[in-house]
Symmetry: C2
Subunit: 202 residues, 2 copies
DNA sequence: AGCTTTGTTTAATCGTGAGTATACAAAGAT
DNA sequence: ATCTTTGTATACTCACGATTAAACAAAGCT
C-alpha cells in the first residue's frame, strides 16, 4: 500500500518553477506542440506532455485552450515584429526575418503554416502580413501599372520571403551568412517577373 | 390522355440523381466545404448543407468522413496530375498548372493549403509534390553545386508555382493569356537566385 | 401494380477532448 | 513549524460531432 506513489525526495529533485517561469515554459511547449498540427488537431494533453506536466496545471495559467493559443500566437507575433520592425522595408528586413525564423523556428512555422489558415485566429497573423503586404504594395505600385498584378506581386513577395525562410530552416540553415542574399535575390526575381511578365526571361 | 411526361415537374421538382451522379455532386460539395477549413474543422453537416441534402445520405455513399475526404483528395489529385502530367517539366507545365487551378480552384486550394499540412492526409498530396520536387531537383542539381541549396531551390520553385497560381486566382485571374509567363518568370527568378546567391541582383 | 432506389426525418449511441472539482503531497519562504 | 505555492492524481460533467438505427415517402423502372 504505502510504496510507489510518492517517493522521490533524493531520487528525483522535482525542480519547481515560479509562476512566470512556468508560464513561459508552457508557452514554449505549446509553441512546439501546436506547430506540429495547429489548434484543432492538438489536444491539451499534447501540450501538457510536451511541457512535462499534467494537463490540469495548464488551467492554473490559462483560462482556456483558446486563450492559451492566442497567448502563444501573441508572443510569437510580438517577438517577430520586434525583430523585423513595423516600418518600411530596408536592406535589413530580410536578414531580420531570417534571424527571427532561426531563433524561433517553431513559432515561425506556427504563425505562417497554421495560424494564417485558421479562420478563428487568422486575424492575429494578419496584423503582421497585411501590414507587410500593404507596404510592399505601395512600393511595387509605382513599378507595376496593373493594380491586380501589383497586388499579386506584393502577396507573392511576402510568401517567397516566408517560405524561403522555412525551406532554409528545413535544409539545416546552410550558408547562414549569405542566406539572406539568396532569399532577397529570389524576391527581386519575383518583382522582375511581375514588372515585365515573360518578356525578358533567361 | 397521357400527362405523365410533364406531370411532376411543376408540382415537386425533386430531381433525383443516379448513384454515380449524386456521388460526384457530393464530392463537388465536399471539395468546396473542405477547401474552406480543412478536414477537422469541417463537419459532415457542413458538407451535407453544401450538397443540399441531409447528413445521413452521406453514409450511403461513403463509409466514413475519413474515407470521403480521401476520395475527395484522390479525385482532386487525379484531375491535377492528368492535366499537369507526371513526366518531365516542359514549357507546358506551368500553363497546365494554371489551367488546372483555374478549372478546379477549390480542389487546388484544398490540396495545397490544407491537405498538405494535415499529417494524416499529407501522403496523398506528397505523391504529387515529392515527384515534382524530385524532378526539379534533378534539373537544378546540375546548375547548383551545393546540394542543400539545390533542394532549397527545388522546394521553393514548386511553392512559387503553386502560391503564384493561388494568388492569381485570388486576384480574379487577370491577364489569363500571359499569367503563365509571369509565374514562369518568377520561377526563373528563384532559380537564378539559388545559382548565384546575391551576387548579381538588381 | 409492385419493387428498388433515392430520399427525408428523428432519435439513439458513442468516443473524444474541454473544462471542473476534489483531495493530497512536497517545496520553499516566513 | 506553518503557510503559501506548485505540483500530482483521479474522477467527474458537458458539448460536439461521427456513426448507426428506424420508420417513412416519393421516383422511376419493369
Amino acid at each position: 500500500m504505502t510504496d510507489e506513489p510518492a517517493r522521490r525526495q533524493e531520487a528525483t529533485p522535482v525542480r519547481r518553477m515560479r509562476r512566470t517561469e512556468r508560464r513561459a515554459q508552457i508557452l514554449d511547449a505549446a509553441t512546439r506542440a501546436f506547430a506540429r498540427a495547429g489548434f484543432t488537431d492538438t489536444s491539451l494533453d499534447d501540450v501538457a506532455t510536451e511541457a512535462g506536466i499534467s494537463r490540469v496545471i495548464l488551467y492554473r495559467h490559462f483560462e482556456s485552450k483558446n486563450q492559451m493559443y492566442r497567448a502563444t500566437l501573441d508572443r510569437a507575433c510580438a517577438r517577430l515584429s520586434e525583430r523585423v520592425g513595423e516600418g518600411n522595408f530596408t536592406d535589413a528586413s530580410i536578414p531580420a526575418l531570417l534571424e527571427a525564423a532561426s531563433e524561433e523556428p517553431d513559432g515561425f512555422r506556427l504563425l505562417f503554416r497554421h495560424a494564417a489558415r485558421e479562420p478563428e485566429f487568422r486575424d492575429l497573423v494578419d496584423g503582421l502580413t497585411a501590414a507587410s503586404v500593404e507596404l510592399a504594395l505601395r512600393q511595387l505600385a509605382q513599378m507595376i501599372p496593373d493594380p491586380a498584378w501589383a497586388r499579386w506581386a506584393a502577396r507573392l513577395v511576402f510568401t517567397v520571403a516566408v517560405e524561403g525562410a522555412i525551406a532554409w530552416l528545413d535544409e539545416g540553415r546552410p550558408d547562414p551568412d549569405h542566406a539572406a542574399e539568396r532569399i532577397d535575390a529570389a524576391v527581386q526575381g519575383v518583382i522582375t517577373a511581375a514588372r515585365s511578365g515573360g518578356t525578358d526571361r533567361l
